[in-house]
């Protein structure tokens, strides 16, 4: 899929926040006094293209600046969305993602780390005003992170599509999106930014499912219990897409029925999921999955999975998730 095709895909969303701007379009806007928040190297990259002042902490924008540009991944963008909504709702917020996947730059959802779980808040007050892509940021993106980010984007699109809360219009939109995504490599490609943002906006209209329920539950325990392995949300989403897709297929006919109805090739999708799967990583997470299964079941995302997740469903992931 070309960038121009991506532009066509986003046309239907131009009237809604956040406005998707090219870097040239953003440069042409009068943003007033502008603060830029992100890691130093990313801020430096952005400041090569845009005027602004680097800030180290969001509070530095408490009493000044007309615009806040946040550059980073989903966690940092969500932090800026939350801070702006609570402390400076009059501040213009521009979100520049350093990687695709979370779609935080395009959604009205913020995910925050609470004591022992993820807290999800939803509201239009969290929507950035503008989202923009700075392609130079891709230069420093590790290949592995790019791959995991593809898994995150795929999990938004597929789980949003399969969600029992999705309607026909959304499923049509997300099935078109998945066809476009299936043409991209599972790695660095600029079109992922736009398609990932659309996937996130789509799932926000329905829900996600068990992949996210597992990722939200296991992220913190894995980071504590297996430090140094680099566990994060996107990596867990990439890992569990395939086993959860297999679970959904065997538990219910919804998966097959919906894919057929919207003319998606199940084998093509399963191959993509399998390409994102890692048996080494799966072996590392099985015991934590077993330990935290009760919490997985209670996660709100799990409870809107396309197939019902029961206490005994754990056995599938232990014994039968792989062919």
């Amino acid at each position: 899929m070309t960038l121009s095709a991506c532009s066509k895909l986003r046309e239907s969303h131009l009237a809604t926040k956040p406005i998707a701007c090219s870097l040239d379009e953003l440069r042409g806007l009068d943003l007033g006094s502008t603060a830029v928040w992100g890691t130093p190297s990313r801020v430096d990259t952005v400041l090569k293209h845009l005027d602004g002042v680097c800030i180290d902490m969001l509070e530095e924008a408490r009493n000044s600046f007309d615009t806040l540009i946040v550059v980073g991944g989903g966690t940092r963008i969500d932090a800026a969305k939350m801070w702006r909504a609570e402390r400076r709702p009059d501040l213009r917020l521009v979100a520049i993602p350093s990687v695709w996947g979370s779609g935080a730059e395009a959604s009205n959802i913020v995910v925050q780390n609470a004591k022992d779980k993820k807290e999800i808040r939803i509201g239009d007050q969290y929507l950035p005003d503008i989202r923009c892509v700075v392609l130079d940021l891709l230069d420093s993106l590790p290949e592995e992170s790019a791959r995991f980010a593809c898994g995150d984007a795929w999990s938004h699109a597929l789980e949003g599509f399969l969600s029992p809360l999705a309607d026909d219009s959304l499923r049509r939109e997300l099935s078109d999106l998945m066809r476009a995504m299936s043409e991209l490599p599972l790695g660095k490609h600029p079109d992922w930014f736009e398609l990932s943002a659309r996937a996130c906006q789509g799932q926000a209209k329905s829900s996600v499912g068990l992949v996210h329920g597992i990722a939200h539950t296991l992220e913190r325990p894995l980071q504590i219990g297996q430090p140094g392995y680099g566990w994060g949300h996107a990596r867990l989403c990439a890992l569990f897409l395939y086993p959860v897709a297999r679970f959904n297929r065997q538990a219910s006919d919804v998966f097959e029925t919906l894919l057929a109805e919207y003319e998606l090739d199940p084998d093509l999708l399963m191959n993509k999921m399998h390409d994102l799967f890692s048996i080494r990583d799966y072996d590392l997470v099985l015991k934590p999955l077993e330990k935290h299964w009760a919490q997985v079941m209670r996660d709100p995302c799990t409870r809107t999975n396309s197939a019902l997740v029961r206490p005994q469903s754990l056995a599938f992931f232990i014994d039968r998730a792989l062919p």
Partner: protein, 81 residues
Amino acid sequence: MSNHEQLRQLILDILLLGPEEYSLELCRDQVETWDSLSVVSIAVGLNETFGYHPTPSEATAIHCVNDVISLLEAKGISFGD
């Protein structure tokens, strides 16, 4: 397994209840875990177990286990077992 048994197991699994907490009179306002997400889960579970997917209005009109039985019986699924 009878339809009654299948429904009982479904409700226990979704609402995360112990067997002693189940009854046909069990209602939403008696069970903390019977929230809006459980309504979604019950709809999904009924489709998987009995092959009938309640409409959104049917699903939200379910307030107790007996309502589920009434709904399914109206769709030709017998609980006379």
